[in-house]
């Protein structure tokens, strides 16, 4: 933890506020910041819709602030780096996105997020009479055994969850229905990450863990939380084999399943590495008789400058496929 991080920043205490200012400016007026909170809201929200509020700690750019847009999040409540947003920020963001049909909270399953979003939900229901439902993303198979999925962390699966739930919240008429789709998606979603090098929090300037020059950690969490095991640096094919074995066995994914596949950069990994891993994953899918409906390879859920990647598989049915394939556009994620 001695090696200092090297970043081009202004005052490290202001990173989140300045980042959000930069994001709003990059967004051509399609999102606005709430005056007193690190929260973003779409400027083109229809008058009546089920609202989708996403959020969590910052430092995972472009998640979450970059996922506010059409068929994605209606708003985002952003905390400081790696720290859940506070209840007041969540409450104000929820009030700003609410369009009369209730608000779905969608976020990663972490103690801090759970408590802060729960407090906000209680305040909204009690003080504002706004109905809130909550779906927590729990895609990280490395975080807990299958019988305790409620103890699992949310990692790159957030992207598919926001994509599908955002689509459902655009087209479906009731909070119940949107929640149902989101719950189905999260039940079909599995991810796992591998870390090659650590990231750092701007305010401390310290790397969040240590890893020897020839070591990697399989199952690393999105804030540098411990994974399943450390091992020597290995070939792309063998790393993909190990990760896919655990992911496939977990749901389990079976012959004949159709999936969406995401390979997500944790920050500093080259796209070349991810594409080489994609090659191996497809060999495995072919062998297992699993068909890939679509693939996303890119940088969406990061841990600052951590190096490594995650693999996400989402088992599809026609409904999930429909919402996943709707066009979407935001600073962080666009697809026609």
């Amino acid at each position: 933890m001695a090696r200092p991080a090297k970043k081009i920043l202004n005052d490290p205490k202001n990173v989140v506020a300045e980042m959000i200012e930069g994001l709003v400016l990059a967004n051509d007026g399609r999102v606005a910041k709430l005056p007193k909170h690190n929260a973003l809201v779409r400027t083109d929200l229809p008058d009546s819709k089920v609202a989708l509020l996403i959020g969590g700690g910052s430092g995972h750019e472009p998640l979450f602030h970059g996922f506010v847009g059409r068929n994605l999040g209606d708003g985002a409540a952003c905390g400081q780096v790696f720290a859940a947003p506070s209840p007041d920020t969540i409450v104000e963001a929820a009030k700003a996105v609410h369009r009369g049909k209730g608000v779905l909270f969608l976020y990663g399953n972490y103690a801090g997020d759970n408590m802060n979003f729960d407090m906000a939900a209680e305040m909204l229901e009690e003080d504002e009479g706004i109905t809130v439902r909550t779906v927590r993303v729990t895609d990280d198979v490395a975080a807990a055994p299958p019988e305790r999925t409620h103890d699992r962390r949310g990692i790159a699966g957030d992207v598919y969850m926001i994509k599908i739930t955002g689509g459902a919240a655009s087209e479906l008429d009731t909070l119940d229905e949107v929640e149902r789709v989101a719950r189905k998606a999260v039940a079909n979603l599995r991810s796992m990450a591998v870390a090659v090098a650590a990231g750092s929090i701007p305010e401390t300037g310290k790397l969040t863990f240590e890893l020897a020059d020839d070591e990697i950690e399989i199952g690393m969490g999105a804030h540098g939380e411990a994974g399943v095991y450390r091992q020597k640096l290995a070939s792309a094919d063998s790393v993909a084999d190990q990760m896919m074995e655990q992911i496939l066995a977990d749901l389990p994914f079976r012959r004949g399943d159709e999936i969406a596949l995401m390979i997500n950069n944790l920050g500093a990994t080259t796209m070349m590495e991810m594409l080489i891993v994609n090659r191996r994953i497809r060999q495995i899918c072919d062998r297992e008789g699993i068909s890939v409906h679509r693939t996303d390879v890119g940088t969406w859920v990061t841990t600052q400058e951590m190096a490594g990647f995650s693999i996400t598989l989402l088992k599809l049915d026609d409904e999930l496929k429909h919402y996943l394939d709707l066009p979407a556009e935001s600073v962080g994620y666009s697809r026609m």
Binding site: M1, G57, G79, Q80, V81, F82, A83, A84, P85, S86, P87, D88, T89, Y110, A111, G112, M115, N116, D118, M119, A142, A143, A144, D151, R153, I201, E203, T204, K206, T208, F209, G219, G221, H223, G224, E225, A226, G227
Partner: protein, 210 residues
């Protein structure tokens, strides 16, 4: 050494507590780097800097002073610690409702009330290597000393918290970001528990010096 603290005294104590935590930012950072994500120090600093600012305008009552601290922490710390310490101070404040001073008994009640709220909010029990493992023994020690002076009670609470921090070293985390470390979390004290001890030691020292 005064036996009780009026609103101004309680406010001064909270300011001393805030400064003590802010001064130990790096200690908390390193503790959280070891088993968590490394943001506990800067989170606590944000929350307690906001507390210092909030207490610039003198609160009307002891309860208001503690509630202002909790509100500042809850809105500025973020993360698990923001929710927990925010809830702790805001809910604990109710123990001072209608009272114009902090004495030993009300301080013990403050810890108990805060603890109860925090247990409910966080859904954990003792032994999971969290804030609770410093707060619960502190509250018990304070209750046991509650017949005595405020100095006795704060001293007992601080000692309970310090013992609790030590005990967290041997625990395996089963919640929060340290959970996935499993046995690898053994040997490290819990960062949130350290924060509890910093708060209660600062309170003890303030009362002893007052």
């Amino acid at each position: 050494m005064s036996e009780t603290l009026d609103t101004a005294g309680a406010t001064a104590m909270l300011r001393a507590v805030a400064q003590a935590v802010i001064d130990q930012t790096d200690v908390l950072t390193d503790a959280d780097l070891a088993i968590g994500d490394g943001d506990h120090g800067v989170g606590m600093r944000r929350g307690f800097e906001a507390t210092l600012e909030a207490l610039q305008s003198p609160p009307d009552t002891v309860e208001a002073a503690f509630k202002a601290a909790g509100t500042a922490i809850m809105s500025q710390t973020g993360g698990a610690a923001g929710a927990i310490f925010g809830t702790f101070f805001r809910s604990g404040a109710k123990a001072f409702a209608g009272r114009d001073a902090v004495d030993g008994a009300s301080f013990a009640a403050f810890l108990e009330t805060g603890l109860e709220a925090v247990l409910k909010r966080g859904g954990v029990t003792e032994g999971q290597k969290t804030i609770i493992d410093a707060l619960a023994p502190a509250a018990r020690a304070a209750r046991a000393a509650a017949g005595g002076s405020l100095a006795d009670v704060t001293a007992a609470a601080a000692q309970g918290a310090l013992d609790g921090v030590e005990a967290t070293r041997a625990m395996i985390a089963t919640t929060g970001k340290a959970r996935s470390l499993g046995e690898r979390s053994i040997g490290h004290p819990d960062p949130g528990a350290i924060s509890v001890s910093l708060i209660l030691v600062a309170a003890r020292d303030f009362v002893a010096a007052a």
